[in-house]
């Protein structure tokens, strides 16, 4: 039981971008490519732990950026409170999420979090944030915010609550302050296929039909996970369409000289949990950012990164917004793959 050394002073994910990874964080970065060439696959596996110290070990990973990411979420919600959104029938799902997060964090990080239950009277302690909250489980009025908003303001990563009905999954509630270019307000209430409409190529491959069938059958206590990735310019967490004017132009700022510092690999550990009371699903998206420079301190990663980006399918390149700086990035990465 070791205490996590949270970064102080808090790092920023905007303006002066002070976010960096320690050597330890670089070492545990979830490098996503199993091969030198990337294509979609339904790459799901059971979310039942991972190598000790890895980002997959715990149900919800807490790392050195915890306090900084919580502050970033507070800033985003301050500017745009609608990044947390819910439809009226999602109360049970929200309590499911609150319970899952509180129980998991208290179990996995007892030095930082604790949960005490006396029937429906619960006491939640979040020591890093100095929070001690007693409330009645199931009684919304006993918490300062809606249950899902309350607990996800104390968590790293985005959270989407899906309602299962009509053999489909509907994205009916969400806390999304660090999306890779999708809007919670636009997608709220969408079915699984509608939500994934913009993804190129995969529809023709039947990926989403297979994925949906698989997700509908996820059982209680048997969560699954997959990795997804994209590239982001600067260590910016909030790349939502709502603030495209703040970050879209940064893609034009990449040069062969600055690509190592500017371009960041963003890996999402995506988790899916069956929720016990609501029979809904939780879709967790925990994003990790690393600069090309830091990533390329590992020679094997550097070589593979070069090959993956160099051979990336043009439609995927467009979808992930890489086209504009592709040449500059491949040029910079080529030094590691001679």
């Amino acid at each position: 039981m070791t205490k996590i050394a949270f970064k102080q002073p808090l790092e920023t994910f905007r303006e002066d971008f002070t976010y960096t990874n320690s050597a330890k964080a670089i070492k545990r970065f979830p490098f996503p490519y199993p091969e030198d060439k990337y294509m979609y696959s339904v790459n799901m596996e059971h979310h039942d732990g991972g190598e000790p110290g890895s980002v997959l070990e715990k149900t919800f990973d807490i790392d050195e950026h915890y306090l900084s990411e919580v502050e970033e979420r507070r800033i985003v919600l301050g500017k745009d409170p609608k990044r947390f959104a819910t439809l009226p029938h999602m109360d049970l799902h929200q309590w499911d999420l609150l319970e899952l997060l509180m129980e998991s964090l208290a179990k996995d990080y007892p030095e930082h979090f604790s949960l005490t239950k006396d029937n429906d009277n619960w006491l939640w302690e979040n020591r890093p944030l100095g929070i001690k909250q007693s409330f009645v489980f199931g009684e919304k009025s006993t918490l300062p915010q809606a249950p899902a908003e309350y607990i996800t303001r104390q968590a790293q990563g985005d959270f989407v609550l899906m309602d299962q009905r009509d053999e489909d999954l509907y994205a009916d509630a969400a806390m999304v302050t660090s999306s890779a270019d999708w809007s919670v307000q636009f997608d709220l209430g969408m079915s699984f296929m509608e939500w994934h409409g913009p993804v190129p190529l995969a529809h023709g491959m039947g990926v989403f039909e297979r994925a949906l069938k698989y997700l509908l059958m996820i059982r209680l206590g048997q969560p699954v996970r997959r990795l997804n990735w994209t590239l982001t310019i600067n260590p910016r967490m909030d790349t939502a369409p709502e603030v495209y004017h703040e970050w879209g132009h940064e893609r034009a700022s990449v040069t062969p000289e600055n690509a190592g510092k500017k371009v960041h690999l963003r890996v999402e550990v995506q988790t899916l949990f069956r929720l016990p009371r609501s029979n809904g699903m939780l879709f967790g998206v925990r994003a990790y950012l690393i600069s090309m420079e830091d990533l390329c301190t590992d020679p094997a990663w550097a070589q593979r990164m070069h090959r993956v980006i160099k051979t990336l399918h043009p439609e995927l390149m467009d979808y992930k917004g890489i086209t504009r700086y592709h040449k500059a990035l491949v040029g910079w990465l080529s030094q590691f793959d001679q």
């Binding site: 309602d163 059982r219 206590g221 048997q222 016990p276 009371r277």
Partner: protein
């Protein structure tokens, strides 16, 4: 992808609530709580009567907030395959059985403006958890519950006492029959109807809903169908190079399990999809609700919990 897991559990209460229905409560042998479940979930109860093992699905009854206990209600079916008979005659306080993890094929439709439940006989079981949830969520609900006579109405008194305005009992012995036309007509927009009970009652209710123009997406039903018997057949398992016999009264899934071949399952009635198995050769008699027509026509997969060979032989990719 999903694996079967089960928890060894002990009967802590067994009450004969009607002449035909026995109500069981279980606790985990390891003393840990089961945890919450969603209304409409079922579990598979595994038991062994000494000569045969039975695995039957039952709806979870009762409060999803009582994490220490699972409750089920079992109707004695003396013409059935023996599972309910064994539960009635041999399972008592202190008995140990296996309980699988809950799975929900009959969930509450959360965005509904009103929930209209139609139950017949032991079909009341999933609605016990429904009503609990609806009460908790302050939802608008109505229950129409048909029983043969008051004595045979499991939980009838308890429901009527607790929800006098929302529960309507129909006692057939007193010639009070549920009129589905009246119940289903003139319901407010956004109402969802849930039907659970004997096959004929479910079919009647669904037919009336259809005649009244209910959208199919607002009508939900659940029936646990035990696998019907069929002709015996043999199965070749291509990967393990084995041959097994499926008897007339057992399902293919049961025959595979008796040969120690583990297949994921949940409902054991052709609805959930877990036990989907690849077929290499042989004509299939499909009896499930899960596979699409195209999948059935392809002849390349089947649901062994309920479907059988059309002829006397199948080759499976197992």
């Amino acid at each position: 992808m999903s694996t079967n897991f089960s928890l060894t559990s002990r009967v802590v209460r067994a009450d004969q609530v009607t002449p035909l229905i026995k109500h069981f409560s279980f606790e985990r042998v390891d003393g840990k709580p089961f945890g919450p479940f969603s209304a409409g979930s079922h579990v598979v109860i595994g038991m062994n009567d000494g000569t045969e093992s039975h695995k039957n699905p039952y709806s979870l009854v009762g409060s999803s907030n009582n994490f220490m206990e699972y409750e089920i209600a079992v109707r004695l079916d003396s013409t059935g395959r023996g599972g309910s008979l064994f539960m009635h005659n041999n399972i008592e306080v202190g008995s140990e059985i296996e309980i699988g993890s809950p799975f929900n094929l009959f969930p509450v439709y959360k965005p509904a403006k009103k929930h209209l439940m139609i139950a017949g006989g032991v079909g009341i079981t999933p609605f016990m958890a429904y009503i609990d949830e609806m009460n908790l969520m302050h939802s608008n609900f109505e229950l129409h519950y048909s029983v043969r006579d008051f004595e045979n109405g499991a939980f009838a008194k308890e429901l009527q006492d607790k929800y006098p305005n929302q529960v309507k009992l129909y006692i057939q012995a007193n010639d009070v029959m549920a009129n589905f036309n009246e119940i289903l007509d003139n319901q407010p927009l956004g109402t969802h109807v849930y039907v659970c009970g004997p096959h004929q009652m479910v079919a009647d209710a669904l037919r009336v809903a259809d005649e009244l123009g209910w959208p199919i997406s607002s009508v939900h039903s659940e029936e646990f169908k035990a696998p019907d018997p069929g002709n015996p057949f043999t199965v070749t398992l291509a990967k393990s190079n084995r041959e097994i016999n499926v008897r007339s009264r057992e399902s293919l899934l049961e025959a595979l399990e008796n040969a120690n071949i583990e297949i994921p399952y949940s409902c054991r009635g052709g609805a959930c999809g877990f036990c989907k198995t690849e077929v290499i050769d042989g004509e299939i008699n499909h009896r499930d609700y899960f596979l699409t027509d195209a999948e059935k026509a392809s002849g390349k997969c089947m649901m062994p919990c309920i479907s059988r060979a059309q002829g006397d032989h199948l080759t499976l990719n197992l």
